[in-house]
């Protein structure tokens, strides 16, 4: 009985598929954390950015209207994976942006890869998206934690901050971030003079900050994230130590939430800032007009850039077939003007120059959105892993 039902449903589904694949709208999916802890650096503003890209593209491609749908995966891998599969099967989604928890993004990317659907990891920062879990149709727009850690570490050493003290949360991810940063510090000629490893959810970071200060290090590298990071930044402000801080994982929305008074002078790497050139300012001003002044993060910009590039490739290829579109995307230059020296590697890794940002002091800031000063550019080709070194099985096979 159940089997018959399933078969019938499968038949119906296959019968229905060609109908929307040929004439119906081209559907794009924004799969993100819409309300949870990551909704600030992705979430509703990612949806806005994607809708803006579609609008700027003209609203239709290959003579078919473009429709954007969004789904909230709640940072649960099972939910995200099921949603992705369901929307691919029932709505004929041809591409999706992925944000929020990386575990969810990776699960959805795997489902999409099996179904021949293009994925744009615009808000996922785990190296696995373009590494060991890449698919033939996956693109990784967001920088990974590795580039964020190495970017800030290398660039700050070059600016004279050559002695570091690491403040590291005691779990695998934290240790990995600290190791990435340490490698970059040493490559750039600096040294790590000490480290405090603290348990997750530490209420008082004063002890770690004092140890860092006592070590005489010029820079305190923060490999922690979320509330631990906020606590460290808040308390460093109390001790007057803010200008020593370099953070591995902090986004524009975190800085805006902490406020410039507390976050001033912190340095971090980012792939995007809204106030760089005419294109970024246009994007930034439009999205801030819609969202009540929330500064767009690198994830939001990546979603706009990724979807725009996808649509350009669809128009150029004359089809939504994932194989053809993917090939075009890797071959065409990015046209949004958000990134410098941008290109796409064969594992789907989007490479561009990264930026070293320093948070403005309240005096330097000319308005609520004026949060960063860009103090250096970090060349992308020396920062990102090559496709061959990424661990992506597709490229490893190609190079062997």
């Amino acid at each position: 009985m159940t089997l018959t039902k399933t078969l019938a449903a499968a038949l119906l589904a296959t019968a229905a598929l060609p109908a929307f694949a040929q004439d119906g709208p081209v559907r794009l999916l924004v799969l993100d954390d819409m309300t949870g802890i990551y909704s600030g650096n992705g979430g509703p503003n990612t949806l806005r950015a994607v809708e803006m890209a579609v609008e700027d593209f003209g609203g239709e491609v290959l003579g078919r209207p473009i429709e954007v749908i969004s789904a909230d995966h709640q940072n649960k891998p099972d939910v995200g994976s099921a949603l992705a599969q369901q929307l691919i099967d029932e709505q004929g989604v041809v591409a999706m942006t992925l944000g929020g928890s990386s575990a969810v993004g990776l699960a959805a990317q795997a489902r999409a890869g099996e179904s021949g659907v293009v994925t744009l990891a615009t808000g996922g920062y785990a190296p696995n998206f373009s590494g060991d879990q890449c698919t033939p149709y996956s693109f990784h727009w967001a920088p990974t934690t590795r580039e964020l850690a190495r970017g800030v570490a290398g660039a700050v050493v070059e600016q004279g901050g050559d002695s570091w003290y690491m403040i590291t949360p005691d779990y695998v991810f934290g240790h990995a971030l600290a190791a990435d940063a340490t490698a970059a510090i040493e490559e750039a000629g600096g040294s790590v003079v000490g480290e405090t490893v603290h348990p997750l959810n530490t209420n008082d970071m004063a002890s770690a900050l004092l140890s860092a200060q006592g070590s005489g290090a010029k820079i305190f590298g923060l490999a922690n994230a979320g509330t631990d990071l906020e606590t460290t930044i808040k308390q460093a402000g109390n001790f007057g130590l803010s200008d020593h801080l370099a953070a591995m994982l902090v986004f524009a929305n975190n800085v805006q939430a902490l406020g410039l008074e507390q976050a001033q002078n912190i340095r971090m790497a980012t792939s995007f800032y809204w106030d760089l050139n005419d294109q970024t300012r246009d994007f930034g001003n439009r999205i801030m007009e819609m969202n009540g002044g929330q500064v767009p993060t690198m994830g939001h910009a990546g979603a706009y850039s990724g979807v725009m590039h996808f649509l350009n490739a669809v128009a150029e290829a004359g089809t939504t077939d994932a194989e053809a579109v993917t090939a075009k995307m890797k071959e065409m230059p990015l046209s949004d003007g958000f990134y410098q020296n941008a290109s796409i590697q064969e594992n789907g890794r989007v490479v561009y120059d990264m930026l070293l940002a320093e948070v403005n002091t309240p005096d330097e800031s000319e308005g609520p959105a004026d949060i960063y000063e860009i103090v250096a550019t970090i060349p992308g080709d020396s920062l990102f892993l090559s496709a061959a070194d990424s661990g992506c099985p597709l490229t490893a096979a190609a190079t062997n």
Binding site: H198, P199, T202, N203, D204, S207, A208, S211, E230
Partner: protein, 295 residues
């Protein structure tokens, strides 16, 4: 330069002051718990939620009315104390004479509801709360830079703890309280309104928790989970000090802050379990706690 555990003495002194600062919160919170347990025989699991409510009441009063910190420091705990009095009158009073487990469950439920509502309303991210401008600077003590606000917290909580201890151990009112704990019918026979005394005690314990919450706001995260993060440690402090011992709660609070501070220098990875290791050891040798009366 003299070293202890391979750490230069000045660095150690700085870390001990940080430990004392954290101990101040443990002392204030465990003091409230000890008073409530001593008189009401209720293991108040809502204590963390009351602490969180103090911080949020201060945050909201500051946002809405722009009240200065000094007024918030009293106004916010008062509001929380009124809330606590209502809880005591409406719910806890019905549990009198029952096993303390019922009180524990009820207060735990209250904590879950209050924290859930706060999370629904404010999310999990921390809210902005700056120290008062008069205390926003920091002084160089030679061996460390001490933010004025942290020094203020240590001094104020010491004063509040000692005053509370004196109130209970050295005044007529305190004597009544202690007498009511020992033999309630007798105290009632003398014409003392014991139910009122109990409500006031619960409200006072809540006041202390909320007071600690307001003092924590400029330094720690003002978030709905701030209470549940600290309350477990505070319970361990109370158990180590001995349930119901006022002086014991204060002393143990500061002492464990110091020990935790030391751990953060010697082996930071263990800093969040050291309190529980000590609790296990103390319970093994002195089941009623360091300052508890053997029942």
């Amino acid at each position: 330069m003299a070293d202890i555990f391979g750490i230069p003495l000045p660095v150690l002194a700085g870390q001990l002051l940080i430990g004392l600062f954290n101990g101040a919160f443990y002392a204030l919170l465990s003091l409230g718990l000890a008073i409530i347990f001593g008189l009401l025989r209720i293991i108040n699991f809502a204590h963390g939620a009351l602490y969180m409510m103090g911080a949020f009441a201060a945050f909201l009063l500051g946002e809405w009315f722009g009240l200065p910190f000094w007024i918030l420091l009293v106004a916010a705990p008062l509001i929380v104390a009124i809330f606590a009095a209502a809880i005591e009158r409406g719910l806890l009073t019905h549990l009198q004479g029952l096993d303390p487990l019922y009180g524990l469950l009820l207060t735990f439920g209250i904590a879950l509801i209050v924290e859930g509502l706060a999370q629904y309303q404010f999310g999990v991210a921390g809210q902005n709360f700056s120290p008062p401008s008069a205390l926003s600077g920091a002084s160089n003590l030679g061996f460390m830079i001490m933010p004025h606000y942290r020094a203020f917290v240590i001094v104020v909580s010491l004063i509040v703890c000692l005053a509370t201890w004196a109130l209970i151990e050295r005044t007529k009112l305190g004597a009544l309280l202690r007498a009511a704990t020992e033999n309630r019918p007798l105290v009632e026979a003398f014409g003392v309104n014991v139910p009122l005394l109990l409500t006031a005690t619960y409200a006072f314990g809540a006041f202390l928790a909320a007071f600690a919450g307001v003092m924590a706001a400029p330094v720690f995260q003002v978030s709905p989970l701030m209470g549940s993060n600290i309350v477990i440690v505070v319970f361990a402090v109370v158990v180590i000090g001995g349930m119901g011992s006022i002086g014991g709660a204060i002393l143990t609070g500061f002492l464990l802050g110091l020990i935790e501070g030391l751990t953060k220098v010697i082996y930071p990875e263990a800093s969040n379990i050291v309190v529980f290791v000590i609790m296990a050891i103390v319970l093994f040798f002195r089941p009623s706690g360091l300052f508890g009366k053997t029942a």
